[in-house]
Amino acid sequence: MVDIDYKKTRKFEGWLDLEVFDRVSVLKLPTYVEVLDRALMVEAILATKKQVPALTTKCEGKRSGFIFKKGRSFSKRQNTGSSSSSSKNSGSIPNCPDCRRKHKGTCHHASGACFRCGKIGHMIGDCPLRFDNANHLAASSAESAPDDYTYEERPIQIVNRQIKRLKNKEIPLVKMDWQNHGGAYTAWETEEDMIKRYPDLFPLDLIFYQNEVSPNPSLSDPSSLSFRSLLNPLQLPTQNSPTSISKSPSVNPIHCGLRELRKRIDSVKNTQKITEAMKLVAAAKVRRAQEAVVNGRPFSETLVEVLYNINEQLQTDDIDVPLTNVRPVKKVALVVVTGDRGLCGGFNNAIIKKAESRMADLKNLGLDYTVISVGKKGNSYFLRRPYIPVDRFLERGNLPTAKEAQAIADDVFSLFISEEVDKVELLYTKFVSLVKADPVIHTLLPLSPKGEICDVNGNCVDATEDEFFRLTTREGKLTVERDVVHTQTIKFSSILQFEQDPVQILDALLPLYLNSQILRALQESLASELAARMSAMSNATDNAVELKKSLSIVYNRQRQAKITGEILEIVAGANALV
């Protein structure tokens, strides 16, 4: 039943004149009778309005100005005169019986037409005429009105001071009371910034302290100083010298807010991820280094075998091979093998320290020395110390190859053959285990014809014993096993002939041996570096985990404390209300 009436109403609305429909439809009247009633009313109003259009536009001009002024509070002051005049006028006009307000002309209250132009379809707020008038108004009051209504926000005084201590610097901060915030808004700003922008708020000596270059002469005027201090009585206690400010024991306990804590936890988490990744990468590279060693095994085994046999046959002969020449030592070349990168614990430091101590020893013995540096870390170390004579800087790639060993061997070879140096020592890190690596010194040249290399302490490393390391997983953890392989030496057939002089053959073999020794050293050094990095990164990861844990505890505690505090506040507030 209601539904049918509703439909009928809407249908009737549809048939109405457009102007009338606009007025009526918005009312959403529920019954047909009501709609009919209102429609008739609107029609009558429209008819009367059309008779007096001229009058309405005339008087609306004045009134609209008033309304506009009322809308904008900031322009009120400038237009008090006109508003008072309009209020004077309003006294002589009788109240409208329809809307009970004072106005001239037709009352548009019932019709809903624009109060300014009398047209239906918009309210006064959207009247196109209004903007014309507004422009007119602005033009008329141009002398008194500013161009724009923005103002410069500036501080009035310094409320407080504080010095923020960072790791390696201190930032003086000042709390400013800003002009237009009624004291409620204060914020910490850096002192430097504030001095630059508002020098008049600060004591003079502080300004000179900050920009000693060009002290403003006007600022040195004592009268202006007194004037300023008069202006800002509150800043008087802060007029002491800046040094005393920085010295003042504003020891703030490192108070971390929740936000900072969360940031720290995040950064620790990131660091942990990085160190963990580095650890895994190092582990993978150890495996690759191991592969390289394994690939080189056939060569070294055969070489050792051949060398051993030839030595056996040549033992009785008196041989003279350039590389085995033992000369009285005047100058020593030190080949220092370091890593290319840091973040591997004390790996690089240990080998460099070893080199330094060896250099000191040589100096004490009255021997000359020169350094061949291999690896970026060693290079940068020796470059910073120009008093250490360095023959050559070499870099090594990701994995030591024969080419790099060859480059070092060539250098060493030419140094030794040209008799520039009489002894070549190789300083590298011997790989002992995943957690242990020893920096050692091996004598490279002169090679002992027996194929033995003795280190400075006289420990001989037998050439037939070849050590290599193997990365294994034991109980889910990476470990490295180091095997000592005894190469079984197959006797050469006794009828083996030497195509050339035995000396020439040794001459060909010993550089090979030199190369393989250097390559071995490089590989061991790399393996030690990777192992050192693995353990360093694993330690770092552990530390990060620990730090994260303790930070999380602090964070949770603070969070809980905050929540508790809030609950207490709410309860206290509720109690106060009751």
Partner: protein, 133 residues
């Protein structure tokens, strides 16, 4: 009887196959090795190694080392070995030119030794490509 050749470098095994015949540059000149060769030990110069597989000749640049022949097994230990097919001709030529220039500039015993070595290596690489088989 088959002849087996094994070329080893510190990095890897370059060659480990059966061959018909090889020509090796030793310190005392080139020698040809056929199956059932007498056991000898020889120093290998920086030079080219030619290998015959059936009717095909292959060349390899050897950077000096040592060879042991016996029991139809040839073991060549060298610092570096490159197959001619693996060498970039342009790059090899450039290296040779640089090495020649360096030798001219070299002063003192040590530099001359180094430059000579480099030149011989570079020359061998170029030869390995241009060998007429």
């Amino acid at each position: 009887m088959t002849l087996n050749l094994c070329v080893l470098t510190p990095n890897r095994i370059v060659w480990d196959f059966e061959v018909k015949e090889i020509i090796l540059s030793t310190n005392s000149g080139q020698i040809g090795v056929l199956p059932n060769h007498a056991p000898i030990a020889t120093a290998v110069d920086i030079g080219i190694l030619r290998i015959r597989l059936n009717d095909q000749w292959l060349t390899m640049a050897l950077m000096g080392g040592f060879a042991r022949i016996g029991n139809n097994e040839i073991t060549v230990l060298v610092n570096d070995a490159e197959k001619s097919s693996d060498i970039d001709p342009q790059e090899a030529q450039q290296t040779l030119e640089i090495a020649e220039a360096n030798l001219k500039k070299a002063e003192g015993k040590r530099q001359i030794i180094e430059a000579n070595l480099a030149l011989r290596r570079a020359r061998t690489r170029v030869e390995a490509i241009n060998v007429i088989s």
